[in-house]
């Protein structure tokens, strides 16, 4: 009888990180299905390509860092980074754009900072922001217009576009995103005129409302499964909505609330990107502040900045603020009158 010597607790009931990440992957599937149905095969191809690249880059870096490769690859976090990039990049983005985004996400933003758990910035968003700044044309002209899958370019054609550089062939299928269209046309047109554009379709924004709805559904599942808490998505959406109501009530000047919530990457950002635990604030109060500030930044950049969408920049900017938020938002511990804010020895 050789007895194990272990420190308490002896019972464990955790979902391991790999399982948590797997659930995250599964809950993005409704969104991916909606994307594929309304915008063709592009997102699916991107997702597969980005995930493979992410796993490859992660494995190479782990090898270089003399870390156990299989042990860390199994945690599925690299796959999630690849997946999120594949979901957010333009459908017809050339393969090298995705490659730059994924490799910089994994190599620069994650592994060079120390790997899982040590990255101050959301890796996927670092990759996204990098290619958005570096390749503005490729990142704005390769969005698919909304058509249902049977009418969209075929799988082979899409593959060829992405990997073969046959950009001209699908020019007829690309279209500006609704937020982009609205932002650039509203200066010289009325809201009614702008909304005539086919990118808006008959609903809020052709196809986009369904994609956002599907991500919302997946996100709610994450909250229900207690993978994430409600604080960040709710505060983010609430502040974005309030900003829109406060500043953008005139539809002839600014995009309406419905577009802010249901076009662009809002739901994917609110539930899957801003909630990345590694780079987000920790306490409930901190999460509320963090989410709300992202919402404000998204609205600010979308309305008064140069970019039609702003999830990546907003999240990254707030990643900077996380240590600061964390210092000032610890919860009040049992038996204490108030939370102990700030840094020991300093006022707070």
């Amino acid at each position: 009888m050789s007895l194990v010597q272990q420190s308490s607790p002896h019972a464990h009931g955790a979902r391991p990180t790999s399982r948590v990440m797997l659930v995250v992957i599964l809950t993005t599937l409704p969104g991916l299905v909606a994307q594929t149905w309304f915008f063709g095969w592009g997102n699916l191809i991107n997702v597969v390509w980005c995930v493979l690249l992410a796993l490859g880059a992660e494995a190479a870096m782990l090898k270089l860092r003399h870390k156990p490769v299989a042990f860390f690859l199994r945690d599925n976090t690299a796959a999630v980074t690849g997946l999120l990039l594949g979901l957010s990049l333009p459908q017809f983005a050339p393969w090298w754009v995705s490659a730059v985004a994924v490799i910089s996400a994994i190599v620069l933003a994650k592994q060079l900072y120390g790997g899982l758990g040590a990255n101050p910035f959301n890796p996927a968003m670092v990759g996204y922001a990098l290619v958005l700044v570096s390749f503005p044309v490729a990142m704005t002209t390769n969005w698919a217009g909304a058509v249902t899958l049977p009418d969209a370019p075929g799988f082979g054609e899409t593959l060829n576009t992405i990997f073969g550089g046959q950009q001209a062939a699908i020019d007829a299928w690309t279209m500006a995103t609704p937020l982009d269209e609205y932002k650039h046309k509203i200066a010289s047109h009325t809201a009614t005129e702008v909304l005539q554009h086919p990118t808006f379709g008959t609903g809020v924004a052709q196809g986009w409302e369904w994609v956002n709805g599907a991500f919302l559904l997946g996100g709610l599942a994450l909250v229900a499964l207690r993978i994430i808490t409600w604080h960040i998505p709710v505060s983010l959406l609430a502040s974005l909505g309030l900003m829109s109501l406060a500043f953008g009530s005139n539809a002839d000047q600014y995009a309406p609330l419905s577009l802010h919530l249901l076009a662009g990457g809002t739901m994917l950002g609110a539930f899957f990107i801003a909630t990345d635990p590694v780079s987000a604030a920790t306490s409930h109060q901190g999460k509320l502040i963090y989410g709300a500030c992202i919402g404000v930044l998204i609205y600010t950049i979308r309305s008064w900045g140069n970019y039609p969408d702003a999830v990546a920049f907003s999240v990254l900017l707030m990643n900077f603020a996380v240590p600061f938020i964390d210092h000032y938002t610890p919860p009040r511990t049992y038996g204490h009158h108030k939370p102990r804010r700030g840094i020991p020895g300093k006022a707070g």
């Binding site: 272990q6 420190s7 308490s8 002896h10 758990g117 808490t229 511990t333 049992y334």
Partner: protein, 600 residues
């Protein structure tokens, strides 16, 4: 319906309680030998009152704490003391400590017991003393001496007495079974404790997964002040602080005790022991312990004699050593693993889990923290476990303390849910230990500095005194010189009138007379002052000696009790020693002087 509050966080681990509630409480019987550790709870260890070879009776006091906080240890059965040895005791470190080893004679013969027919006729302090004499310490966890807990600081009035029957840890059913089968005894104990404390409210808190216990306790306490309150099952509802929050909505101030907010918690097992001690006169010599886990065929609860080796207890439940992979004393959340089966059951041993590999598997390898925050979600103390972990790992103890590390109750909920299977509690224990060590070293360094400074000041003072005395002597000498000169001058002036020769003769005469007179005067004056001086010096010496003795005995006591004023006492003893020496020196000096005077 009593209002209940919720406490934040908490978890619902698999309960695994049904295995050990199928059969009634059994007697574990008398083992071949009993091992009675001299220290079974926080406070001072007891000192043996018996010697190897002594025959003792069941219930006889074997060891007691003479100074410091603690309660006595009694013989769990009649037999012979065969040794007082260093043996492994129940402790997370697997350390050994002094134990009295008792070989039972099988007669199980009681010593004379003195039950109290009506404790209400006694003074409360006498009842508290009886509880102390019965060796009762808290039987739920830490094992704080019950008599001390039952006498809160005089400025704290206990308005709510909580009897903790929550028993929230998985596997453990000792309190559950005790409440089911011995509700009357428990209630008897509650009555005594209520009589001592006179609370406005007395609540028996039981988790809703123990309906039989609730029923039994309701029946036993019908028509009395005690009210049975059913609390929702959620770990760690049985934690003192959490239970107080559930029942009163109040929080025990950080670093304080429940009495600060007018609350006191007592375990149901303790209540039972109090009843037996007062109404039957029986000291605490046995307790109910759950023996469970897949490593035993016949799990259940046993009334085990204090000192029963765990092996004996496990065997009663059909132990299969080959199946067992880890042996836990306590529950799976807060218990600790045992190295072997020789350690004895003590007053705080509520559960023994013989777990198989399948039952409680080794956790997977630790992964990096991804700050998912699940630990913070389940923390009942509303700490930030992941931040504490980062700071503990980085040895940034200031920050860990700033984030209230010392409020952590080590319930293990955070480790339980951690998806990266990080042994968080272990990190906190490490950080706490390091901080405590640092503090102790700081105190030691401070004391050393104080000592050095005090010595330095004393040396300076002595130097100054010496200097002053030297100056005084010099001044006195100078004055004497002056006087002499003045006299001489006077004489000269007087002599000027007469003839110079006769004047010189007179001066010589005067000088001679002075010389003759001086020793005589000195002798008389010194003899008159010196004699009483010796007497007072002797008196001083005796006084100093007496004081030194008391100081030394106090120091010994303090050392035995490991009190924190040991340093201070050591210094005091050294000072007194010094004083005695000086007094002796002064005395011998004085005597010597006297002798020389006498010799003259």
């Amino acid at each position: 319906m009593t209002q209940l509050w919720n406490f934040p966080g908490g978890i619902h681990p698999p309960e695994n309680k049904h295995q050990s509630t199928a059969r009634p409480i059994r007697k574990a019987g008398i083992p071949e030998r009993l091992i009675l550790p001299l220290q079974q709870h926080i406070g001072a260890p007891a000192e043996p009152l018996v010697q190897p070879g002594d025959k003792v009776l069941k219930g006889q006091k074997l060891a007691d704490v003479t100074s410091g906080m603690g309660v006595p240890v009694h013989a769990s059965t009649s037999g012979t003391i065969v040794g007082i040895e260093l043996l492994p005791v129940p402790h997370p470190s697997g350390m050994s400590d002094w134990c009295i080893v008792l070989e039972p004679d099988g007669d199980d013969a009681w010593c004379e017991l003195s039950p109290i027919a009506d404790y209400r006729k006694l003074h409360r302090d006498d009842v508290l003393n009886l509880i102390r004499e019965a060796g009762i310490s808290g039987m739920g966890g830490a094992g704080f001496p019950t008599n001390i807990k039952l006498r809160p600081p005089s400025d704290r009035k206990v308005s709510t007495l909580i009897i903790n029957g929550a028993e929230c840890e998985p596997y453990i059913t000792a309190d559950d079974m005790a409440m089911r089968e011995r509700a009357d005894q428990i209630h008897g104990g509650i009555k005594i404790m209520s009589w001592i404390l006179r609370p406005e409210r007395c609540v028996i808190a039981i988790e809703d997964n123990k309906p039989e216990a609730v029923e039994a306790m309701r029946k036993a306490s019908e028509g009395t002040q005690a009210e049975v309150v059913v609390v929702p099952t959620k770990y760690p509802s049985g934690g003192e602080k959490q239970l107080i929050q559930i029942l009163t909505g109040m929080e025990v101030p950080s670093g304080g005790i429940p009495a600060d907010i007018g609350v006191m918690c007592q375990n149901v097992g303790t209540a039972m022991a109090v009843y037996r001690a007062i109404n039957r006169g029986e000291p605490l010599i046995s307790r109910i312990t759950t023996v469970t886990g897949a490593g035993v065929d016949d799990p259940g609860n046993f009334e085990a004699l204090i000192g029963t080796p765990t092996r004996h207890l496990l065997d009663q439940a059909g132990f299969h050593p080959e199946r067992v992979n880890r042996l836990i004393l306590g529950g799976p959340m807060m218990g600790y693993t045992l190295e072997d089966t020789s350690v004895p059951v003590i007053k705080t041993t509520n559960c023994l889990i013989a777990a198989t590999e399948n039952e409680l598997p080794m956790p997977p390898p630790e992964q990096p923290c991804i700050r998912c925050g699940m630990c913070a979600e389940v923390c009942p103390m509303e700490l930030l476990p992941q931040q504490l972990f980062w700071h503990a790992r980085a040895q940034d103890f200031d920050r860990a303390e700033h984030l209230n590390l010392f409020d952590c109750i080590e319930c293990g909920a955070c480790s339980f849910v951690c998806p990266s299977s990080i042994p968080l509690v272990q990190y906190y224990r490490y950080a706490k230990g390091e901080i405590r060590t640092q503090r102790a070293e700081q105190i030691k360094a401070d004391r050393a500095r104080e000592r050095f400074e005090a010595r330095q000041a004393r040396l300076e003072r002595e130097q100054e005194e010496k200097e002053r005395r030297r100056e005084e002597r010099a001044r006195a000498a100078a004055e004497a010189q002056k006087k002499k000169e003045a006299e001489a001058e006077k004489a000269v002036a007087e002599g000027e009138a007469t003839d110079e020769r006769s004047a010189r003769a007179a001066m010589v005469q005067q000088a001679l007379e002075r010389k003759k007179a001086r020793p005589a005067a000195a002798a008389t004056s010194e003899a008159s002052t010196e004699k009483p001086d010796i007497e007072s010096l002797e008196k001083q010496l005796n006084q100093a000696k007496g004081k030194l003795e008391t100081m030394e005995s106090m120091l010994d006591d303090a050392r035995a009790a490991q009190a924190d004023n040991v340093e201070k006492l050591e210094r005091a003893v050294a000072k007194n020693l010094d004083r005695v020496k000086r007094a002796e020196d002064a005395l011998t000096e004085a005597r010597k002087q006297l002798e020389t005077e006498d010799g003259q």
